[in-house]
Amino acid sequence: MSQAARRSPFEPTGFGRVLETTAAWVLAVLWALPLLYAVWTAFHPAEFSARFELTAPLTLQNFANAWNAAPFGRYFVNTVALVTLILVSQFVLCTLAAYAFARFRFFGADVAFFLVLLQLMIMPDILIVENYRTMARLGILDSIPAIALPYVASAFGIFLLRQTFKQVPRELDEAARVEGAGSLRILLRVYVPLAKPIYLAYGLVSVSHHWNNFLWPLIVTNSVESRPLTVGLQVFSSTDQGIDWSIITAATLITSGPLLIAFLLFQRQFVQSFMRAGIR
């Protein structure tokens, strides 16, 4: 994140600064508390799950128990397959559509663009009843493609890439055309490479969104073979585990672990991606 080189004259100073720093930290601790609490519970034996003693022994047993109590390995594979499928299809479909909107003047382009943008408001997330029916008709209920299909054409992605492609200088496009390159070749050789940061940003946002998505996968899946992690976690923690919190929190951390670790390692990229993708 670029910082202003000069210090703003309105930055708090003296006692006010101490006060604001304290307040900011109190809020930060409050914000981190649920996660810290989960980490504490997951890494300690059950009898310390709600007792905070510094001398409490550390253990990985909760993770082992959780991992053995449900097919989390399979859920991981499913989630990775799901986010990959969605990401690749989104990249392909959105790139083509965005290119059309950015550089082709074709009949009905405005209406088509409006129809695309409609999805920003009427998103698949709320059309669960009809989409379920469609999946049933297609005979693909309880499969990973069924979870992915409603999301592969993303209005958000099309809009984001269109904005980016529009900023590519036309001269580059024309120069390539003079050299005899066709439209698709120009797209791949000129536009896509120039939009790399946007692809990264969009990719991170998309992967974290679909890694975390829950309601639609919950509805269309009902077997271990197709359930993603989020649904697996819910099935696991709601089927009378005798409410063993240490195991449930361990499972919770397993589910969010990869994304959380990726975020902590590549914070800048994450924050910048969400920023880029959001500001458009």
Partner: protein, 291 residues
């Protein structure tokens, strides 16, 4: 390239995306409208046209009205607080207080965690007797209270979770906006003898307006589609005290399998979101900063 070719090429490029959009967004939206005027097909009995019957049922359905009212309270409870907190967080992170990177991490982390996972953690947090909340209130001698199990407090509890999840996400948009304010503005204001409060109120906040509009739209949409934590924490209970519209649609459609009624309920949500879109288009579009 000839003009006819541009038409063909444009549509060919668009075709795959349009096909999927039509199949999974436009068609289901239209089908929802059609189905809402039919009965639910059961067994051998196919769906029959019933006119506005489903809507009549809806008007007489107290759970529907409670879900609407819950959803409005949920929106009123989450949106202003999370936006205000987001601005505060952004100002603090932007002011380079000690440990700003840590602050940013702490504020933003909830955004990348699955709602379903954090809902589990919060569930534990709120657990009567030995949840963390109870331990803290217990220190002050407060009597034990079943936070999620009491209709009076359950909705407030899920609102807190939503605020916690969203504020850090909104923060980054404000952070981006703050970083785009030229430092010379602050210097000029300081030369003119403006106080910090005056500077924040009269210069920073107005410059943040477009961001606030963008965040507001997102927050409103989220208020109507966030239900993961409801499914984990309360299942709409106790006594439907935390049933939100989308959650109720889910229950009616996939617990009671009354798809026609669920379609009518979905139409309400479609109309609400359509109204948000219209408002954005009519009042905000030309004043926002993107494009």
């Amino acid at each position: 390239m000839t003009r006819v070719n541009a038409h063909v090429a444009g549509w060919l490029l668009l075709l795959p995306a349009v096909a999927f959009l039509a199949l999974f967004t436009h068609w289901p939206a239209v089908a929802t409208l059609i189905d809402s005027f039919h009965s639910t097909p059961r067994g051998r009995r196919p769906a029959a046209f019933v006119g506005p019957d489903n809507y009549a049922v809806m008007i007489d359905d107290p759970v529907f009205w409670q879900s609407v009212s819950n959803n409005l309270w949920f929106a009123v409870g989450t949106i202003p607080v999370s936006i205000a907190l987001a601005i505060l967080m952004a100002l603090w992170v932007n002011d380079r207080l000690a440990g700003r990177t840590w602050l940013r991490t702490a504020y933003f982390t909830p955004t990348v965690l699955p709602m379903i996972a954090v809902a589990n953690i919060w569930l534990f947090f709120y657990t009567p007797q030995y949840g963390l909340l109870e331990q803290v209130t217990g220190l002050f001698g407060a009597p034990s209270h079943n936070w999620l199990g009491t209709p009076d407090t359950a909705l407030a509890c899920v609102i807190v979770v939503a605020i916690w999840k969203e504020a850090g996400f909104f923060m980054i948009f404000y952070l981006a906006a703050l970083q785009q304010i030229p430092p010379s503005l602050a210097e000029a204001a300081a030369l003119e003898g403006a106080s910090r409060g005056y500077y924040l109120r009269r210069i920073v906040l107005p410059l943040l307006m477009p961001t606030t509009m963008f965040v507001l739209i997102n927050a409103v949409i989220n208020a109507f589609r966030m239900v993961d934590h409801i499914i984990v924490m309360t299942r709409g209970g106790p006594d439907n005290a935390t049933s939100l519209l989308l959650f109720y649609i889910y229950e009616v459609g996939f617990k009671f399998w009354d798809t026609a009624y669920a379609a009518a309920l979905t139409m309400v949500l479609v109309v609400v979101l359509g109204a948000v879109a219209l408002a954005q288009y009519l009042f905000l579009e030309r004043r926002t900063h993107y494009q």
